[in-house]
Symmetry: C2
C-alpha cells in the first residue's frame, strides 16, 4: 500500500476503528484523583455479579485504558484482548532470597526540579505505584503491592516489552545467529520497499532509523492511528480498508532523513526487530521469550503478550508479567547473564547493552531529564556515575539496574500520565538515593 | 426481556453476531480427513511470518472452530478471545510419579456396535486424540500428545468445565456453605422471573430443570443462537439489541414442564450454577477454581476460561487446561478428595457425585450408549460394574474415573463430530478394556 493511500485511509481508520494501540500507549490526561482515591478496589471496578453498569470495564467500552480505569486494566489486559502465552515451562520456580530492609521506606531525596525533600515511601503514592521490588546483592530487600496488583498477578510491562525484545536480539547477535550489520531487506524481503529496507539490524535495535512516522497521540493525523487500527485484533468493520496486521502496516512506513544519525523513539522499530528475529529463528516473540528467558530464569509465572489479528505478538508494548519475574530478569542483567551460578545469556549480549549506544544520536532527541544518556538494544542507558541502565514503559514501568550499587529495581505503575517525563522527577533521584543508602550499608 | 422479544431478536442476532458459542460447542460436520491428514502441523495452520493468507486462523474468520481448523483452535483459544486466568499459585508443582506400561498400546477391544476388534493405539487416531493420560494406582502408566498439544500446552476442556463447576458446588454443599435445597431465586434474585427462580440448587446441579431452551445447533431458531450472541465478548454491532452477557440472557429463559422430572442436558444450568456460587461466595468461577482446586493440587500450569463482555467466565464450557493437571484432578476424585495424603475436598462432595443421580430422570433423555446411567453434580455416572463416572466434553474430551480398577483416564481430542455419541463407540469399551488389563496385572 502506498504512503498516500495510507494517509487517505487515516481519518477513516480513526473513525471506524476502536482505539486499540492508543489504549496500550495512552494519551496525556489531566492529573486527577490521587493513588489512594483512584485505587481500583476503592472505585469498585468489576466488583459484583454482575458489576453495576457504571463499574464495568469491558470491550464495548473502548476507553479501558483511560485513567482511572487503566489502574484496573494494567492488571487485566487478557480479560479484554486475545493474548499469547510466554510459558515458564513446568519446573519449580527458582528461589528468590529475602533480606528485607525496613529502613528503605524512610530514605529521603529531592525530586528533580524541586527543593522539597520527600521519602521513598511518599514517592510510591505520588507515582501511582502498583508494584515495587528492590533487589540488593541478589536478595529482595523491599517488596510492595498496591492497586490491582498482587504477588501472583501480572501487570502490563508496556514499552519494557521493547527491552525484552532488544535483549533477545542482543543474545542472537552475540551468538552469531543474527548479523547486526545486515540490511533489514536481506532478512525480511517484505520490508524492501519500506523505510526499513536499507536500515541495518543495529539501527533498528538502537532506534536510529530515519522514519516518517509520528507517534504523537494528540495529533489526529499521526501515523500511530493507522498503526492502531492495523494492530487491533478484533474483527475490522466491514468498510475497513487499511492494513490489517503489524506486518502489513510496517511495509507502508516511508523514510525520512538518514538512518544512523539520530535516536528517534518509535515503537515500530521493535515490531520490525521481532519480525527480523522470527524470520531468523523461525520462532515468534513469545516462543523466544519462553525459550531464552522465562524457562531459564525459573520464572514463577507465565507471562503473555497481546496479539494482532494474525497472531503476531505486540513486540512494542504487549507484554504482561509478574513483578518478581522481571526482578529475576533484572538480576540476570546485573549478573551479566548468569543466574544462580548458571550462564543463561552471553556476557557479550549484556555488555552490548550496558555500555550504551551513541550519546550523540541520543542527544538529538532532546530528553531533558535523560541528558547525557543513550539507547542501546532497546534499553535506556543513563551513563551516570553508577553506570545505571533501564527498561522503561509508559505510565511508570521500569526495570532499573545499578551495577555499582548491585541493585535492581522493578516498578509497575499506573500513573495518569503516560510519559515518564512526568514520573522521572520523583523516581530517578529516588533510585539514586536508595542505591547510595544500600552502598553505605 | 420477554420471551417473545427474545424470539424476535433471534434472527437478527444470527445475522449480526459472530457465531461465538457455536464456535465453542460446534455443529455436526461430515467426517473428513483422518487424524494424521488433519494434523495442524501437516496442514500448516499459523506457520510463517506472516502465515500464508489461507493458513491464518483469526478473529475476522468466525469459523475458527470448524473442522479441521478446530484441531489448532482447541489449543489456542486465548489467542482468539479474551480470557481469565485460573492461577496455580506460585509454589512448585506436585510430583506425578511414573510407571509407564508399554503394553497398553496393544490392549484390544470391540467398539460398540462392531464385531471388528481394534487396539487401544488404533483408537487414538480414530478419535482424533490430542492428549491421552492414564493413571493407575496414582502413577502415570500412559501418556501421549498429538496434534497441536504438547505437555506444556493447554487444551479446551469444553463441557468438562461443567464438571469442574459442579465439583465446586458439591464442595460448597458438603461444607454447608450452599444449601442444595434452596430455591435459586433466594440466592440470585435477578433470576426470580426466569425458569430458574423456583428450581432448587440441586435441580440446577443435576440438570433436572424444566427449561424452554433448545441447544440444537442445526436449528437456526434454537435459543442457543441468542445465547451465542449474548456470550460473545467482542463488541456488539451497533444495531444489536439482544442480551449482552450470560447474566442478561439467563434472566430471559422461560419454564417448560416441571423441575425435577427429567434430565435435560442444557449448558445454561451450569452458568446459573456459577452465578449461584458467585453470589454465595463473592468469588467468580476462576477464583473458586484457583482457590479450591488449582492451588491445592500442585497444578503445573495455570488454566483459563473464556469470558463474556462483562468478564463473566463461561462455566458451561470455557475452561482450557493442561492434560496432567486434569489428571491430578481425576486422581483427587478417585482418592475421594485426598491428594498426596492431604484432604483437599470433603469426601462427602466426591461421594455425592460418584454415587450418581436419578437413573429414572436420566433415562428420559434417551442416551442409547449411556443407558442405565445418571448425571450428578454435572458429572456423568455410568453405573457399570466398575462404578465408573466421567467429565465429558464435545469433540471427545473426558476425565474417566474407574474406582474399581483404580484408574483415571484423561483424554483431550478434536474429533470432527461434536457429539460424543460418535466417539463413545471407540472410547468407552477401550477404557473398560484397559481397566480390565490393569486389574489383571
Amino acid at each position: 500500500m502506498s504512503s498516500s493511500t495510507t494517509r487517505n485511509l487515516k481519518m477513516t481508520s480513526i473513525a471506524i476503528a476502536t482505539c486499540y494501540l492508543a489504549t496500550l500507549c495512552s494519551a496525556e490526561k489531566p492529573l486527577a484523583p490521587n493513588a489512594e482515591q483512584s485505587d481500583p478496589a476503592t472505585l469498585g471496578w468489576m466488583q459484583g455479579f454482575p458489576p453495576p453498569a457504571d463499574k464495568i470495564i469491558g470491550q464495548p467500552d473502548s476507553n479501558y485504558f483511560s485513567f482511572p480505569k487503566l489502574r484496573w486494566t494494567v492488571c487485566h489486559l487478557r480479560e479484554l484482548l486475545p493474548t499469547k502465552q510466554v510459558s515458564r515451562g513446568l519446573s519449580a520456580p527458582s528461589v528468590l532470597e529475602y533480606n528485607l530492609d525496613p529502613y528503605i521506606d524512610s530514605v529521603s531525596f529531592y525530586p528533580l526540579h524541586s527543593d522539597q525533600e520527600i521519602t521513598w515511601q511518599e514517592s510510591l503514592g505520588l507515582n501511582y505505584t502498583d508494584g515495587m521490588l528492590v533487589l540488593h546483592k541478589g536478595k529482595v530487600v523491599y517488596e510492595r503491592y498496591f492497586g490491582a496488583l498482587s504477588e501472583d498477578g501480572k501487570h502490563a510491562a508496556m514499552s519494557m516489552t521493547k527491552s525484552m525484545t532488544g535483549l533477545l536480539a542482543e543474545i542472537l547477535v552475540a551468538e552469531g545467529v543474527l548479523d547486526d550489520q545486515a540490511k533489514v531487506e536481506t532478512i525480511v524481503p517484505e520490508l524492501a520497499q519500506s523505510a526499513f529496507g536499507d536500515a541495518t539490524v543495529r539501527q533498528v535495535m538502537d532506534m536510529t532509523t530515519g522514519l516518517k512516522y509520528s507517534e504523537d497521540y494528540s495529533d489526529p493525523n499521526a501515523d500511530i492511528w493507522v498503526y492502531n487500527a492495523a494492530a487491533n485484533p478484533l474483527p475490522k468493520p466491514a468498510d475497513y480498508v487499511g492494513p490489517r496486521s503489524y506486518y502489513e502496516f510496517l511495509q507502508t512506513v516511508k523514510k525520512e532523513g538518514d538512518h544512523g544519525e539520530a535516536f528517534g523513539y518509535k515503537t515500530i522499530n521493535t515490531d520490525v526487530l521481532a519480525w527480523i528475529m522470527a524470520k531468523t529463528t523461525g520462532k515468534d516473540l513469545t516462543s523466544l521469550l519462553s525459550e531464552r528467558i522465562w524457562r531459564k530464569i525459573g520464572a514463577e509465572q507465565d507471562a503473555y503478550t497481546t496479539v494482532d489479528s494474525i497472531g503476531t505478538p505486540f513486540a512494542g508494548g504487549g507484554l504482561s508479567a509478574g513483578l518478581r519475574d522481571l526482578g529475576r530478569i533484572g538480576q540476570l542483567m546485573l549478573n551479566e547473564g548468569k543466574l544462580n551460578g548458571e550462564r543463561i545469556i552471553p556476557r557479550k549480549a549484556i555488555r552490548s547493552i550496558s555500555k550504551g549506544g551513541s550519546k550523540e544520536a541520543f542527544a538529538k532527541a532532546g530528553y531533558k531529564d535523560l541528558a547525557g544518556g543513550s539507547y542501546r538494544g532497546m534499553w535506556w542507558v543513563f551513563h551516570n556515575d553508577h553506570k545505571a541502565y533501564a527498561a522503561r514503559g509508559v505510565h511508570g514501568q521500569t526495570i532499573y539496574i545499578d551495577p555499582t550499587a548491585e541493585m535492581v529495581i522493578v516498578r509497575f505503575a499506573s500513573h495518569p500520565h503516560a510519559k515518564n517525563a512526568y514520573i522521572d522527577p520523583t523516581s530517578l533521584p529516588a533510585y539514586q538515593a536508595v542505591a547510595e543508602y544500600l552502598l553505605s550499608k
